[in-house]
Symmetry: C2
Subunit: 248 residues, 2 copies
Amino acid sequence: MAGARLSLTGTNLSRPFTSPTPSAYLRPTIISGVAQNLSYWDSIHSDIDSHLKKAIPIREPISVFEPMHHLTFAAPKTTASALCVAACELVGGNHEDAIVAASAIHLMHAAIYTHDHLMLTNSLQSDSETEPKISHKFGPNVELLTGDGILPFGFELLAGSMDPAGDNSDDILKVIIEITRAVGSQGMVTGQDSDGEFDQLIGQTRRCLHGCGAACGAILGGGSHDEIEKLRRYGSIAGNGVKDESLE
Amino acid sequence: MAGARLSLTGTNLSRPFTSPTPSAYLRPTIISGVAQNLSYWDSIHSDIDSHLKKAIPIREPISVFEPMHHLTFAAPKTTASALCVAACELVGGNHEDAIVAASAIHLMHAAIYTHDHLMLTNSLQSDSETEPKISHKFGPNVELLTGDGILPFGFELLAGSMDPAGDNSDDILKVIIEITRAVGSQGMVTGQDSDGEFDQLIGQTRRCLHGCGAACGAILGGGSHDEIEKLRRYGSIAGNGVKDESLE
């Protein structure tokens, strides 16, 4: 699997991993998505955008929701969230079952991206790296605070997607655990293991989201333990290998 | 209730709200706690500390876990987490049922406290307020990143406290929703409604944790909807009125 050809921008998901019965994973939706190449991913991102626009409208108080809205959409798209939906479909789940989790993953990514571009005093980064990569429309205090608000909002979205009968509570909690690990201590540890440098650390934390996204989609799609772990591995490798707009 | 005498440092929880049958809430543990005054709260904080010390030991990689450990315990105690345990017991639950949630609430508070004391460039705060209130042992980049890691770790602790049979999944998801609201957009909105100033905003966000803590305890203790809402209100008022070490 490590040598598998991974091309997320080219969207080759037809053989995400060697499986004894690969045809079982080739649902009609995925085949259609592969045939259309980028439009499959574009359609996922479009659905995530729509969900987030409804979840975070610009409303009163404007001073809270305008920065939340802006910073959520100012962060570049990440294939981590798209992988979540694709993985869900790959194991036989419905597209819609993974949109909330995929949206939550984008919110985690947006919060990290926002904080990653804060200007700090006593910076450990070199001068060239302290140049702001995004426009600091709201000032650092508001961006710090808003990033801190966006992250738990992702978990709120997820926890709130519990159906009234509570039939999906266990799966949602598993997904919350996956995401907390990816963006929390585990993501930091993974980065730390690979390289002690701060930039590598945050880069690796973001890459962890790819494995997490794929695993979350597999959980929500009702995948087996084996499928979840294979898709997590695929996602992690894809996260390392893909030229993601957000992974510079 | 709004006029009730609130004294958290003096620990008068014997009449947290007017109840038609107050004696039902006076469990032996609480009576003992009230009789001992501060020692009741001290014992709760001690239990939370023990739980967190096990959850975040200083281990390899040291560069990740030493800052997490340090910043978790560098934040002053908050009565929001103690209220969680007290509320759980008030509605008839066991002390132990609320320790994980109380620990998660302390982690949220610690993450906010850490970020609140980051030194930012282009600060909107006055000179006197930009003086560091805690020692910046690890430098701002690490403190920013660690705060970002501590917050999801709190949700990871909570989600991981699901029992194997999944009997408590719904309650845990409700608690996650409560906490995400308190530390996320809702906390920011509440602060924004009361005052547009940044310092007020973060102060109010932290105060929201008190109402949240009491509500979470009541949920985990099996309280009724009415009990949960009354305890939330009590906690919110207490959070505004109490001289909390962390609420300056």
